[in-house]
Symmetry: C2
Subunit: 591 residues, 2 copies
């Protein structure tokens, strides 16, 4: 059975030593009640709860899965009780606005609790997380009346939420959805259509489920400009917030999946279900995207959480498992063999995962800081700059952290040899569960296209140039003892600059080039960002290297990243330069 301890020391290092979050909070009235002491207590309690209550349900939830019976869906044993406790602990509304019962913690805090939750049990995590996503969209676009009725119930965990986007024929391409919304005399709408892949579409954890549904009005323009967003509760709600009559939305079936088997993934049939418009007519996609930046970072945390728990278990196995002898000669004479850790290749796997994890954690905090500034920044200018930064880095946070997270789970599984393939050890579940994070909330290919197309080519590289200035300002400050970081980061910035130049040049001549380069560009960018994060961490670590081995190890792991993992950017650049011609020259019949 896998073990997990939330990496609180590493989290605090990033939050308080690298980003000095407590100083940021002290200077912003929105966070007047947040300080380091409070956050430390929150982290401790969150870690304890998830390790003790949520984590033990991860394996059993996988083995048991969800079950559908008529129009009811049953979650695995133990999920109900744990969800109650989770809700009562106030964890669902931790980052939500205090006006509606939330606790108002910044993303710089909830990014850490997200990581812990996903590490412990991604299937369980999705139930509260989808509610938070739905609440975010309501919070931005719904009327005050709706917010007062729904948000406190979601934050308290009495009700859950969903996002109903995908249809059998319409996944990434939402412009072609067929779900219909018929306006009624009372201002509501009747929603009809079939939605698939609906996470938590039906389950037994909450008294009501608030569906946010994309559908088209009868006279809507074709394509993505004719999509509206509707609130469709499972049980209709009276003015006092009491659930009443059952709405005409039912689960059709649940999917049999590779992983996250404790999460009910439902086919939902809307058969003239009563719903209410959220936001403006035909602007549903925009309303949905409000929550996307938050959700997509969340998915990144699923990747990091999985990678962290996979690392911890692989490291424990490598310490304990005796197999073979060190190339340096016998290390443990009284044992039949030396521990796996004597073998450099085993260390290579562990350190690769860990070096990525620590960079990812720092990067997630970097993006969270921007998310907080975009929402709570003291000036319009701060909020605008931060919003641009969020826009640039969100696709990287989603796709790069989940791609590397999946690879990490595979690598950690490999440390176990044959035992990694056996279900009882739990390593193969990490692989299966994490695989979905590369797919949902916009596939990682779509994220890459969002980055390369919308965030880089569309503004002619303006956002990248601003970022490069920030990076170059840092490497100018990396002095004695940080040479490996200074030279690596300098090279990384140059490669990103060149890749961006190539991307723009290609785009001017070839409409297919951006999509052809997108995934390589995203991975290149992610690696450069990690080099940036490692340089920031190294600067702090160097200053404290005499205090504690913790800091010297940080420097050492940073070296590992710069020397062994960063060089991938050079190959990625070459792939980008190859252009789209070799791909597009094949006739369709070739494939």
């Amino acid at each position: 059975m896998p073990v997990y301890k939330a990496p609180l020391r590493d989290m605090r290092f990033v939050a308080f030593e690298v980003f000095q979050a407590d100083k940021l909070w002290a200077s912003n009235p929105a966070f007047s009640e947040i300080d380091r002491e409070v956050v430390d207590a929150v982290l401790e309690e969150n870690a304890r709860f998830n390790e003790e209550v949520v984590m033990p349900l991860n394996r059993s939830g996988d083995e048991e899965g969800c079950r559908v019976d008529g129009d009811k869906v049953f979650t695995p044993n133990g999920f109900q009780a744990a969800f109650r406790q989770y809700a009562e602990g106030g964890w669902i509304g931790l980052g939500a606005e205090t006006d509606y019962g939330g606790q108002g913690f910044p993303k710089m805090v909830t990014v850490m609790t997200d990581e812990i939750l996903y590490a412990c049990n991604p299937s369980f995590a999705l139930y509260p997380q989808l509610g938070i996503g739905a609440a975010l969209a309501l919070s931005q676009h719904a009327s005050k009346e709706v917010k007062e009725l729904y948000l406190p119930k979601i934050y308290s965990g009495e009700w859950c939420g969903t996002m109903c986007l995908t249809e059998p024929h319409a996944g990434t391409d939402l412009g072609i959805i067929r779900s219909r919304a018929e306006p009624q005399a009372d201002g509501s709408y009747l929603i009809t259509g079939t939605k698939i892949f609906i996470t938590g579409g039906e389950h037994d954890l909450a008294g009501n489920i608030v569906h946010l549904v994309l559908a088209k009005l009868p006279d809507a323009p074709a394509g993505s400009k004719g999509i509206s967003l509707f609130l469709v509760p499972k049980f209709l709600v009276d003015k006092d917030g009491n659930p009443g009559a059952r709405n005409a939305v039912k689960v059709g079936s649940i999917e049999h999946k590779m992983g996250i088997k404790g999460s009910a993934t439902c086919v939902m049939n809307f058969d003239g279900a009563q719903g209410w418009l959220v936001g403006k007519v035909n602007e549903g996609l925009a309303a949905m995207f409000v929550m996307m930046n938050y959700e997509r970072l969340s998915m990144g945390m699923q990747g990091l959480g999985a990678s962290e728990v996979a690392y911890q278990n692989a490291a424990a196995y490598a310490r304990d498992r005796l197999q073979g002898r060190s190339a340096r000669g016998v290390q443990q004479k009284d044992k039949m063999a030396d521990p796996l850790l004597v073998h450099p290749d085993v260390r290579r796997m562990l350190l690769t995962v860990r070096a990525n994890n620590e960079a990812a954690r720092c990067f997630a905090m970097y993006v969270s800081k921007a998310l907080d500034e975009s929402r709570y920044g003291m000036t319009e200018e701060i909020r605008r700059v931060a919003s641009d930064k969020v826009a640039l880095f969100t696709p990287i946070a989603k796709a790069f952290l989940t791609d590397r997270g999946f690879d990490a789970c595979v690598m950690a599984q490999q440390v176990f040899g044959g035992h990694g393939y056996i279900r009882e050890w739990g390593m193969e579940q990490f692989v299966r569960d994490t695989r979905i994070a590369q797919i949902y909330e916009g596939t990682n290919g779509v994220q890459a296209m969002d980055l390369a197309g919308r965030k880089v080519v569309r503004n002619q590289g303006a956002s990248v140039r601003i970022y490069l200035e920030e990076v170059r300002a840092l490497f100018a400050e990396l002095g004695a003892g940080l040479e490996v970081f200074a030279s690596g980061l300098k090279h990384a910035a140059n490669v990103l600059e060149e890749a961006t130049r190539v991307l723009l040049e290609q785009a001017a001549q070839d409409v297919d080039s951006t999509n052809a380069a997108a995934v390589d560009y995203l991975h290149l960018f992610g690696l450069v960002a990690y080099a940036h994060m490692w340089s920031m961490m190294a600067r702090v670590a160097l200053a404290h290297q005499d205090d504690d081995l913790f800091y010297r190890n940080k420097l050492q792991l940073g070296h590992y990243f710069m020397q062994r993992l960063l060089p991938e950017i050079d190959s990625r650049l070459q792939a980008i330069k190859a252009g789209s011609q070799t791909m597009m020259a094949f006739a369709e019949g070739y494939f």
Copy 2:
């Protein structure tokens, strides 16, 4: 439900156009009865049988799995009948010696039927394949009497075989096994011990199961030099080959695994089971390794087979699924959207898989040619040179083809978006099933150490130099129309040469360096070999480019490989140069 058509056109291209196998056979008396016509008929029939009979059991076998009841193990429905037909078709003994009922086909043929079999159903494939492995070891090391008794039964499929190596505490490190062999007065031995991860240890497909078991005599030297190999049949066999009394070897349980669920992976308890020595006392590991070169190439074919079937299904989905519009503008006006194939990133995934597959198929044939020469070569010198080549390339064939095969399955799954995560589509099964190929028969890390340590450093790069001469002789011949290949291959050879030089220099100073570099070196070497294969294929394709689009597409796909996939070697070289110091400096307690 996944589809599959054996890629016979591509196979014939490699066998007959690139390697001119028919000419090789015509000049070797061992293959006097093999010609192109016969092989064509074999391939057609093999493809038909596997597509129609074996493939349909792949999904159902996964859903159903194996079942243990007392000391009996039941394979999934349909496996028994299919195995009977497979055996009656003569497929098990296709490559086996004719003296004992085999059909005597060269590895250059069975490498193709292996690919087809593994593509259709890897769980099913393991039952006959393990028998072939056991038979190979017997064929080389057992007495004539034993061979006459056992081999015909294995080749006919009446009996199956296993390899019993791993114990709970001893996986890669076989030197510490605890299974004991007590000599008896009649010359036999009583074997006692527990073996785990035994593929096909017990099942309902055959009348007897022939276990090849590693165990230690009471006075054996410690470590791997004290291991002997024993034949332990499930049912004791009389002099006429009739199974009689049940031997004291029983299944303890079957493993619950990530994939290959139709393959019974057993814990086997030997409780004073009667066995017979195979080969010499204390030379059991060497005897076992005889079969390893063949088995390891087989595992590579599992990787390639999975990658091919995954490709075919992803390509079919990308042709059919309508989603989004081409960046060039609407392509299919009468449809609600264009097919996925209009998107360059989808093509990137498909072409990456396909470019690796076609190189892998050529590489497998290249290694098979050497395997045939090492066994049937007309002179001692030919056999020796070929054996060295086999030794050098076997770890690459096993590890590189399975690593890329797994990545390919993941990439092909990604093409399906959310549907790739749903069990019914079958794509996620390819991922789960293929994962084991990176682990068993020696993990890919162990393969890399075998390559870098035993095959390169131990002979100071002599084998690599011979290979580089061969590669350079080729690129000198790559003239007009093949510039991309000539320059790419030249660079590839230089990078391999430099990586080898670095490996040797590091090894002279640092005992940990070879293992630290091993996996990067293996992937670098694999990519160089693929560039070599693509250059060989391109030379043939260029000569025929006016004949058929087939050849022009080959050239085009070769360009894709050289431009987009080969550049990875530059990053790998940088990682190798980083050495082991950054890894080994961490104290064990750090992990």
